[in-house]
């Protein structure tokens, strides 16, 4: 039972990697990375019962927290970068318009 569940979660992780590679926009890639992290937590939880080592649950707990923080940080970074680029484009357009 644990084996079946862990195999299904592994297949889903592969699908998430596929979406992260294909993903047309940066948000698709972030979504895929987030899903990969959540599935890793579930996989570690199932694996700890499959192999009979409850130590893995601590790793899953740490991974759940780190995954959330990293997704929020990357989102902030992407948003700020897109905004700065738009602002730079506007500024350079204004300079060109003034020169003409």
């Amino acid at each position: 039972m644990f084996l079946g569940a862990s195999l299904a979660i592994l297949v889903t992780m592969c699908l998430a990697i596929l979406r992260a590679v294909l993903g047309p926009s940066v948000y698709d890639r972030i979504l895929a990375a987030n899903m990969f992290g959540t599935k890793t937590v579930l996989f570690l939880a199932v694996l700890s019962f499959l192999s009979g080592r409850p130590d893995f649950l601590d790793l899953a707990l740490a991974y759940a927290l780190i995954n959330f923080v990293s997704v929020i940080a990357v989102l902030q970074f992407v948003e700020r970068r897109a905004r700065n680029r738009a602002k730079e484009d506007q500024a350079s357009d204004a300079v060109k318009g003034g020169a003409q």
Binding site: M1, A5, L31, T38, N67, F68
Partner: protein, 105 residues
């Protein structure tokens, strides 16, 4: 009694695995970003609840069960928050006309 709990936990685990798998297929096959967010967040919440509850039934009232409850609590707080932040960020970027190609495929 033990067998009943075993069967319930197997149903939870297999149902969770199915939900997770369907979410993964949806993540690959849906046409644009917001439908993909829908598929991924459904799989994140429903699949996580089912899989972890299945594991908790196997663990019983032990330290492992308490850790699993903590993992479930964190996941139920963080995954909707991350999904909301992602969708909000994408939709404001689209409304401001920043160059992200959300509408593709």
């Amino acid at each position: 009694m033990e067998q009943v709990i075993d069967i319930i936990s197997w149903i939870c685990l297999l149902g969770g695995a199915l939900v997770v798998l369907i979410g993964g297929i949806g993540l690959v096959r849906f046409p644009d970003l917001f439908t993909r967010i829908h598929a991924a967040s459904l799989a994140d919440s429903g699949g996580a609840i089912l899989v972890i509850v299945g594991c908790m039934l196997q663990a019983g009232l032990t330290l492992a069960g308490v850790k699993l409850a903590a993992i479930l609590l964190f996941l139920l707080f963080t995954s909707p928050t991350a999904g909301y932040a992602l969708a909000h960020s994408a939709i404001t970027a689209k409304d401001d006309g920043l160059d992200v190609d959300i509408e593709s495929d």
